[in-house]
Every structure is written in C-alpha cells, then in structure tokens.
C-alpha cells in the first residue's frame, strides 16, 4: 500500500481528495493537515466522511515521511514549503497554482510578481493526463491544472491539435465551491444565492495555463458565477480556419478522446441531454465534451462540463497519481454520478 498524506485537507478540494483516497484500493491515508483545525476529526468539517475514517488533522510542521504528499494549500504556500515537502515525500502532487506555469515570465504576468522558486517551474509536470500521460508516468512532481483551465483545455484541445482553431472565446459558468470554503462578502447567502455574476470578464489567471497548454495565442476567457455549488460549464466559441463539417468534427474529437477513460463526447441528436451538463457529473471524474458548428460561419461552439472539485481538482490529482504509480488509471475514481440529483 502507498502511504499518502494531504497537506491542507480541510478545504473542499482536500476533503474530496480524502474521500477518494479513503476508497482507493492501493492507498493508506497516513496524515492530514489543517492549521485551523489541528486536533479535530476530519468528519467534523467533511461530514460525508463520518464513519469512514478516524483521522484527525495535525499541523503542517508535524507531517512525517510518506510515499506521496498531496498539497491543497492556499496559493504561495507550496512554493514556500516545497523543500520541506520534498524531504517528506518522494512524490508530490500539488493541487494549487504555484507550479502550473513553466515560464517565469508568464507566471509574473498572470500572478503579478516574480515566482519565488523559478528554477523549479520546469520540473513539475502539468497534471492533465489527457495532455501529459507519458510524462506523468515518470513524474515525481505534478502540478494539477485549474478547474476552469481543465474544462477549457479539454474542450479546445482536439481542434487545436488538428490545427483548425485560429482563435477562441471561452466563457465559463462556475459554481460557488470554486471560491473555497472560507466565507467572504461575495459568498454571503443573500448576495450569492440566485446570483449570475460576471466575476472575471478579463484577466483570469487560468488563461495563462490554457494558452500554454494549447499553443494558441488568440484566446479570450471570461468567468461568470451562477447558482450552482459544484460544476463548470465551458462554452468556447472557436473560429476555425474553414467551415467544418459534422463528420470532420466527430473525427477530430473521436481521435482525441476515444480511448480516454474520463472524457466522453456528448453530442446527441435527440433527447434532452444533447450537450455536456455539469449537474450529472457531480462527484465524478468525467469531463464531458461536445460541439456544434454554426452552419453559416466558420464558428464552432465547443462545450465541456466537469465537477470543479473532481476532474478540476481532486479527481485529476488521483488520476495523475495513478499514472505516477503505475496503477489502473481509474482506481478510486469509479463513481458514475447520480441522476436525477
């Protein structure tokens, strides 16, 4: 069994990761940390885990050696503590944003200051398996992608790889859990409930990841929070180099994803579930992708949906971990979702 610990397990992503690892056939969860909740039981803040574990949170400085350390800390913390973490575990999977970009200049552009450890940026493998499967098999340092970035990248990657996409405008609709489990004025129930709020029409940090992963420069990204707890729905308006036919698009997407265990093409000709929907993906590691071409222009609308805490965070981390350790890719990630919710 692999001994896994979670640094920063009291948040939503950390809680989902703990849930997944407790059910993973190859993992024993060794330790979980929270500075705020040190000494408290995990089920106190993750009530779904009552009865599944008697683990108690401890402080980061109390972490002992383990095989793999999952890091779910606020931005900047993993950069600051990376040397300590590497002394604790041979494998590190970071769910934060510190090491997602390989280019120090890009980091400075998107995060507003120089990276504290720029020499390490190139050592982390970006954690989307559909992009970096082979590199993940040999990786000891992994930086999982942002949730919105994952949705956008998986929607657009097939057309970018096929070199038919010239530019794209990405709009993501996101749930409130993206903002974490700490209350803010914006998350206060009377302010958040029922809201459809453009919270980052331009300048979202995830665009840096998306551009780096897709290799297309003319990309635009806006994010809007809506009445939803979990989930991302990405609608990407792709301007292609020519008018594409349905069968060509099917071939492009099938070539990219036919063998992928967690990406499904959803483009129905009938029924009510014709395109990706985040609702039915809650708790799963799937990313559903779909597309529709505008018959009168060169525009293709590429869509994707995922659970931001799963495929956009904890599930992606476990998928990457499975590759790093040579386990079955779907180990611990078998949940098919619920319908209806």
């Amino acid at each position: 069994m692999i001994r896994a610990s979670i640094a920063g397990a009291s948040g939503y992503a950390g809680g989902e990761l703990l849930r997944l690892l407790l059910g993973h056939p190859e993992v024993e969860v060794a330790e979980i940390t929270s500075e705020r909740l040190a000494g408290k039981f995990a089920h106190g803040v993750h009530p779904n885990l009552r009865g599944a574990t008697r683990l108690q949170f401890r402080g980061l400085d109390e972490l002992s050696a383990c095989d793999v350390l999952f890091v779910c800390l606020p931005h900047g913390e993993s950069s600051r503590r990376i040397d300590d973490f590497r002394g604790i575990a041979g494998l590190i999977v970071d769910l934060g944003a510190d090491f997602r970009l390989r280019d120090p200049a890009a980091y400075e552009r998107w995060y507003g200051g120089p990276h504290p450890r720029p020499e390490l940026l190139g050592q982390f493998v970006y954690g989307i398996p559909e992009l970096n499967r082979e590199a993940l098999r040999d990786a000891s340092l992994v930086a999982c992608a942002g949730c919105n970035a994952t949705a956008a990248i998986l929607a657009l990657k097939p057309m970018c790889d096929a070199r038919v996409a010239q530019s794209a405008v990405i709009e993501v609709l996101v749930g409130s859990s993206e903002a974490g489990n700490q209350a803010t004025a914006a998350s206060h129930h009377p302010e958040r409930s029922g809201a459809a709020r453009a919270f980052k029409p331009t300048g979202h940090r995830h665009l840096g990841e998306i551009a780096a992963a897709l290799g297309v420069e003319d990309l635009h990204f806006s994010a809007t929070s809506i009445e939803m707890v979990r989930g991302v729905l990405a609608t990407c308006h792709v301007f292609a180099d020519r008018a594409l036919e349905d069968r060509e698009l099917w071939r492009i997407y099938r070539d990219a994803y036919a063998e992928e265990p967690f990406v499904r093409i959803v483009k129905g000709q009938s029924g009510i579930h014709r395109y990706p929907e985040p609702g039915i993906l809650a708790g799963t590691n799937y990313c559903d992708v779909g597309f529709e071409r505008d018959p009168d222009t060169k525009r293709v609308v590429a869509m994707s949906a995922l659970d931001n805490l799963m495929k956009g965070a904890a599930g992606q981390a476990v998928h990457a971990f499975n590759l790093m350790c040579g386990f079955r890719e779907t180990a611990g990630l078998d949940f098919m979702g619920l319908h209806p919710l």
Binding site: D246, R247, W250, R251, R254, I265, K267, G268, Q269, S270
Partner: protein, 54 residues
Amino acid sequence: MTKCPVCDAPVEASEDPVEGELLECPECGSELEILDLDPVVLGEAPQAEEDWGE
C-alpha cells in the same frame, strides 16, 4: 458493421436486418433507417410528422 451517416460511429445492424428497419446510433443518437441490405446502407430516418387529419 456499418457506419452512422451523421457521425461515422460504427453501427451494428440486427442479425436479420430488413429494409426500413430503424436503428439508433449509439454515439450521436441519430435515428437511422436501413435503406439497403447487401451491403447494409444506413440513412437518416425521416422525422415523424404529426398527422392532424385522423
């Protein structure tokens, strides 16, 4: 095994197909009709139209 005329997914006809038989593409969900048997040729099935005259 033949292909869906809409999305190119493989579509398997029944063991004893008959002309006019309707199938559903397992990938895109298109309703398909067997137009010919040797070999099996599929086309998009005509959409049912409401008949208000009955």
